[in-house]
């Protein structure tokens, strides 16, 4: 929803709790969240995350879009749930931080 740009993802972190993002997310990750306040963008910027995806098709307000522009963080929205999104991203080849998936 903010300016389109190519970003390289090193991983993904899904959380609604920004303290968890601050504690556990790794730089250049995609953030999946149900939080629709500009805190999601501020947190992403502080942690050098690659982009933010709002799940469940939640309405994204102008505050959030403005914060995305200010912080230079791409902001997206999906109608999918966190679980569905994570499943698809995993199938698309995005790997978890820890090697916890069974080998195919």
């Amino acid at each position: 929803m903010a300016a389109r740009k190519d970003v390289e993802l090193t991983g993904c972190f899904a959380a609604d709790l920004m303290s968890d993002v601050l504690a556990f997310a790794r730089p250049a990750s995609l953030l999946l969240t149900g939080l629709t306040t500009d805190q999601a963008l501020r947190t992403a910027a502080i942690k050098h995350l690659a982009a933010v995806v709002v799940v469940e098709g939640k309405p994204v307000g102008s505050d959030m879009i403005e914060a995305a522009r200010e912080e230079g963080i791409p902001l997206y929205r999906t109608p999918l749930s966190v679980f569905e999104s994570c499943g698809l991203l995993s199938l698309a080849g995005l790997r978890p931080y820890r090697d916890c998936l069974p080998s195919s």
Binding site: M18, S19, L22, A23, L35, T37, Q39, R42, T43, I46
Partner: protein
């Protein structure tokens, strides 16, 4: 960075101004980047600063953050006027929280704030007078890391 230079910066933080939460920390991050501080340190300072700033926004009436960039370390002080913390040891426990539903709706108040600050700083001093406020002094060493 220039080892001879030191600088002092202050940023006000308004209590309950939820929409402003994170702006002071963004400014701190920019000042550190402009001063040429290494990324790893900027990352630790800004995470600790953001958590501390949100503590002020969520719990206090007002406060301020001061940032000192010294040749060998960064010192971040966060002072607020507000209810203070009754039991600092308890508040340092992961998962313990006294946050309002409003705080939780912003994605904070999960009881990770103070532990996160401690994890990201090399040294953390926190003092609180219940009914008056909280003062925090955080130190981050530059160069050879003491933090593990």
């Amino acid at each position: 960075m220039d080892q001879e230079s030191s600088s002092h910066h202050e940023f006000p933080v308004l209590g309950k101004a939820y929409f402003m939460g994170g702006r002071a920390s963004t400014s701190v991050k920019r000042v550190l980047a402009a001063a040429g501080v290494e990324d790893e340190v900027i990352q630790r300072v800004s995470v600790a600063c953001y958590e501390a700033e949100m503590n002020v926004v969520l719990h206090a009436r007002s406060g301020f953050i001061s940032l000192d960039i010294l040749p060998d370390r960064i010192v971040l002080e966060v002072h607020d006027q507000g209810p203070g913390i009754e039991d600092v040891d308890l508040a340092m426990t992961r998962g313990w929280s006294s946050a309002s539903d409003e705080a939780r709706s912003l994605g904070f108040g999960a009881g990770m704030g103070l532990p996160n600050i401690k994890d990201h700083a090399d040294d953390m001093r926190i003092e609180s007078t219940p009914g008056r406020g909280v003062s925090m002094v955080l130190t981050f060493f530059l160069g050879d890391r003491v933090h593990d």
